[in-house]
Amino acid sequence: MNESRMPAIGIPRAMLYYRYGALWEQFLQALGVSFQLSPPSSRGILETGTRLAPDESCLSLKMFMGHVDTLVGRCERILIPRYSNYGYTELFCTRYEGLYDQARNIFRSSGQRFITCNIDAQNGSPEAKAFELFGVELGFSARQSRRAWQEASKALKQKQKAEEQSQKELAAKPGMKVLIAGHSYILSDPYLGMPILDCLVSSGAVTLRADALESETARKACAKFSPTCRWIVSEEIVGGVLHWKEKADGIILVSAFPCGPDSMTNELLIRRLKGMPILPLVLDTQSGMAGVETRIESFLDIIRFQRGDMV
């Protein structure tokens, strides 16, 4: 294929794509940059990623590297934004911080070019500045880039608001409700989290998601509950659990093996939310759905029993 016909940017459909992807896509669209997503997750992608990533890294990172692999040689540059922090006490998991450099090292011999958008307020590059520099690197003026970023962040906010709104309607429905909490890149991943959500729906439970909530609301709730939790994405999940839990009959905490932040925040949730049925589910590369289904079914039975549906 002629190089000029390749899309300028490739975006791995994994990790923070599920949280901030709308922002990146809008930004690129506003500037008129062509981009391509990697295909939806599959067993094959995970297997490739597992081979490429260090053995001890988390399931999500393995999936991510698999996605990067599908883009190698198929776009001019692969975009891996580096989410480090919004400030001294507003951090991201170190894994997102290292993704860009880690991928560059794993795929070093392929000759593939990478590009990042470095969000690191502690080192003078807050989000606005980061996207400005990113736009400039793509060949646009600082002004164009700023405007594109403003548009894109508005779009992301609206997306979140819409999700929150539609969940509000869902929460008003009658019937057994289960709150499912986890990183959006696990829950929304068609190979990892979606089968669980499908399983819940087909068992007749109304499924609420902790991540369907505006970020500010969630993080405020989390700050009260756990003041030293400083990973933004984890704050959103914990805050989401606190916000929606009143509407739910039980909570499922889904995490990837061995997720660092989850290993601690989930433990804290289990210890501090007394009297609420909670099922922690940890997914790993060997996950077959049968085991997960059994656990979900028996968990739902417990909830039904508690609600008095099953006397």
Partner: protein, 355 residues
């Protein structure tokens, strides 16, 4: 009048001597030293911790339990740049759920990037004492840490070549002196005595000994119990063991300027916590012609896992062998010895072939 607080910090290498100094000379409080880390500490910690958390969380939790058993009424917990910053809050919850009554001073709460907040924390520990005295104790404890790290560095570089076998005795005495020191003079004096004693021992070292550099995560690499005395084991095989990662280098002396720029070929940005320092140190060892590098990390340590592909590239570029060691609460001596012996044999053979 209120009794003096009995303050404890979980064990971490021999750095507890510095805390003891700060607490007893700077604050009006007593310092409780938790018992040295043991299998029991690890078991206690692992049993009460979430499964997937990193090993230092479990070890420090175990040490907190032992500190409370030893009579401490206040636990102090440090902040950090990784999950460590969140250790305190969860550990406090776990200890309370276990039924302990105590005061918990979580420095993470005061770690807001604003120095005033850290001063507030000092007032919490120490409401009555003058800030000048506290500041002096902090300064003197920093000196203590520098001396401790310098002597430790000398010790592991040389103890493998000491025909008289008196190095360990000198080192143990020095550590004991650090725990006993009550003023700056005593700290300096102990340092002078130990340095002189080391100088007086004639080493039986070849002109080009096998040199191995150690890097790794903050807790595990600096705590001999947690890394199963890796450095001593290597030294006993006749290796000059180098470790740049210590508190003095990393926190007090800036740990090498412009590290990120120097490792630009491998990493443009920090990968979090100790990653930049580690990559820089590995590159430094490689450039100085070391024979091997060992990466020490606790199971579940994220930044250390993330730099593994970088270390692999560094190993290729500089043609230097790297051994990756992961420690969990079940690590046993035997497995480690096998791997170390194999690594040593390989490194020794390469040296012979290359020279």
């Amino acid at each position: 009048m209120k009794q003096h607080r009995k303050v404890a910090l979980p064990r971490w290498g021999e750095y507890n001597c510095a805390l003891k100094y700060i607490v007893e000379q700077g604050f009006e409080a007593r310092c409780i030293l938790p018992p040295p880390l043991s299998r029991r500490t690890e078991d206690l910690g692992a049993r009460n911790s979430p499964d997937l958390v990193c090993t230092p969380f479990k070890t420090t939790l175990g040490s907190m339990i032992e500190a409370l058993e030893a009579g401490a009424d206040t636990i102090l917990m440090v902040p950090g740049a990784c999950r460590l910053n969140y250790f305190g809050e969860l550990q406090e919850q776990i200890l309370r759920d276990m039924g302990f009554t105590f005061e918990f001073i979580n420095l993470s709460l005061y770690n807001t990037g604003n120095a005033k907040d850290l001063l507030k924390a000092l007032r919490v520990v120490n409401p009555r004492r003058s800030m000048v005295k506290t500041a002096r104790a902090l300064y003197e404890a920093a000196k203590m840490i520098e001396h401790l790290d310098d002597i430790t560095t000398l010790y592991y570089e040389n103890c493998g070549f000491d025909p008289t076998k008196t190095y360990p005795k000198v080192y143990r005495q020095f550590i004991a002196d650090m725990y006993e020191a009550r003023n700056l003079n005593e700290i300096h004096e102990a340092f002078r005595v130990a340095s002189r004693a080391f100088e007086d021992i004639t080493l039986n070292k070849p002109s080009d000994p096998i040199r191995i550099g150690i890097i790794g995560d903050y807790y595990t690499v600096m705590d001999p119990f947690s890394n199963l005395e890796l450095e001593q084991k290597l030294a006993d095989m006749g290796v000059e063991v180098h470790r740049l990662m210590n508190l003095a280098n990393d926190m007090l002396r800036g740990g090498g300027k412009n590290k990120q720029a120097k490792i630009r070929d491998f990493a443009e940005y920090s990968l979090g916590a100790s990653s930049t320092a580690d990559i820089w140190q590995a590159q430094n060892f490689a450039e100085r012609g070391f024979d091997g590098i060992i990466q020490v990390k606790s199971a579940g340590c994220m930044p250390e896992t993330d730099i593994m592909p970088i270390l692999a590239n560094l190993s290729r570029d500089y043609k230097i062998p790297v051994l990756y060691l992961t420690y969990d609460s079940q690590s046993s001596d035997v497995g480690l010895m096998t791997r170390l012996e194999a690594f040593y044999d390989m490194v020794e053979m390469r040296k012979k072939v290359n020279s």
